[in-house]
Amino acid sequence: MGRPEPAVDGRGSPVSISTGSSETRRGSPAEPDAPALPLAGVTGGRPRARGSRGRGWRRSGWLRLISPVVVLALWQILSSTGVVSPQKLPSLTTLWSTAVHLITTDSPTYGTLQHAMLISLERVAIGFVIGGGLAMVLAVVAGLSRFGENAIDPLMQALRTLPLFGLIPVFIVWFGIGESPKITLVALAAAVPLYLNTFAGIRGVDGKLAELGQVLGLSRAEQIRAIILPGALPTILVGLRQSLGTAWLALVVAEQINANAGLGFIINQGEQFLQQNVIFVALIVYLILGLLTDYIVRLIERRALSWRRGILES
């Protein structure tokens, strides 16, 4: 059986530390406060040069902030000096006051920003719990038995190739235009990466450790709990991050169809009333929520994979 996803490549073995953590480094603007935490050193690799690695990482953590700050500064300069028309690109200061306005006034057009945010969060949370939960169960069943693999994997692989957003019209016919089509879309989007990574993670668990479990007389349940799931965890967590990312993505799309609340609704309204600044504020809120969920997973990662940090402390 081939590995289905490039993203999970080389993560099979629980001791492949350097490969396993390159992911931790990628795409993570929330990193500046990470240096104090132990996993930081694991990021990127070799067990040897500990001290210098930690310091180097910390420095690069702050260095990562430079380019976003430069972009924001350029943005502010271009829009406030009128080089780019504020209709196309509202200045940051305008966006700030728009945000404050959206938060403090409950307008009939937009509602409040925080209400929209809560609605969106709720949709992602429900969709993610359903989709992610189902994906985990299916991946464990498929990962642990040939029968399960034959029964489940072809369907999940097919689902992976299905253009998710092409399903929207179908969902509207099936579920109407209420919450269900949106949540279904989010659930599906969350399910696919989590399934693929969990499945690959389970299959990648070191066979020698499974054999050890047999020699030590572990029951099947103990074997799964003590060896298989922890062994698959690094890959599962990568899947979790991907999965939350696609869940947010699906939400953005889902909320722009027939929503009457939520961040997508605010974007739609902004489009209707030609208020570019409102659209931008909603997009930024999406961005912040996305980064926040990603950050939470990385905190979990640090706790759950603390055994890897042992390499640094030896």
């Binding site: 530390i17 054999e211 103990e222 003590a226 055994w307 390499i311």
Partner: protein
């Protein structure tokens, strides 16, 4: 199909193998092999690589469902593999206690770690251990089960020479204290000569040669009996020994 049921043991042996056979894709590795190991006996098995030493050990450990013949093995057999196989996400003591069904596994594990001189690392993560320490932890994990038979699959081959000597002493002292039967698979003739009561040479899928070593331990490497036996074993293994004699 081999049975690995203690009830099948007809004598006082911890291992009783009759006509054990194993082939991989038509390639016969074990060919009607017979083997008895008595309780408390320290047996070393040597052989060129690919002669089926590890295959036999895996069969004895119950890890090979496809082995043929009659095979009766003490149900309490424990294994130490060539690599330590510590579960990296469980602390050292937890590795030792893994699968242990006793009231206070943590205390029992600590006692075992103390015995192998690793008490100080009980709470460490396995990835922080040195090769020798990791193999000690693996030994503790095997011994904590109070095995009637200890299967050692080249457990010292990845260690440096000095650590290996320390490990030999440790294994001997543990063996003297707990008296499990031991089957040590090794490709190191000197290791076999230093440790075992009986040395077996595996060749062509059978035990081609067996030599008892009734000498006290620790043994002088240059004892005339050992020197003679070393030459004989090396010859059995097909290694030229002209320069030795």
């Amino acid at each position: 199909m081999a049975t690995r049921d203690p009830g099948v043991l007809t004598t006082e042996q911890v291992v009783q193998a009759r006509g054990v056979t194993r082939a991989f894709d038509g390639q016969v590795v074990l060919d009607h092999l017979d083997l008895d190991i008595a309780p408390g006996e320290f047996v070393a098995m040597i052989g060129r690589s690919g002669t089926g030493k590890s295959t036999l050990l895996r069969a004895l450990a119950g890890l090979d469902p496809d082995v043929g013949g009659e095979l009766a093995v003490d149900a309490t057999a424990a294994v130490v593999f060539q690599e330590p196989r510590l579960v990296p996400w469980k602390r050292v003591w937890n590795n030792v206690a893994l699968g242990l069904r006793v009231p206070d596994p943590r205390a029992v594990a600590r006692t075992a770690l103390d015995e192998v001189g690793l008490a100080a690392r009980a709470d460490a993560w396995p990835l922080t251990l040195s090769g020798g320490e990791a193999q000690r932890a693996a030994l503790a994990r095997a011994l904590v089960r109070d095995p009637g038979l200890l299967l050692l699959d080249e457990p010292f081959s990845a260690l440096d020479a000095l650590t290996r000597i320390t490990m030999h002493q440790l294994v001997l002292s543990l063996w003297e204290r707990h008296r499990p039967a031991v089957l040590l698979v090794t490709h190191d003739v000197d290791e076999a000569l230093a440790l075992a009561d009986r040395v077996l040479v595996l060749a062509d899928g059978q035990i081609a040669h067996s030599a008892s070593i009734p000498l006290d331990r620790p043994r002088d490497r240059d004892h005339p009996d050992l020197v003679a036996l070393r030459i004989r074993l090396l010859t059995e293994l097909g290694v030229a020994t002209r320069d030795v004699s």
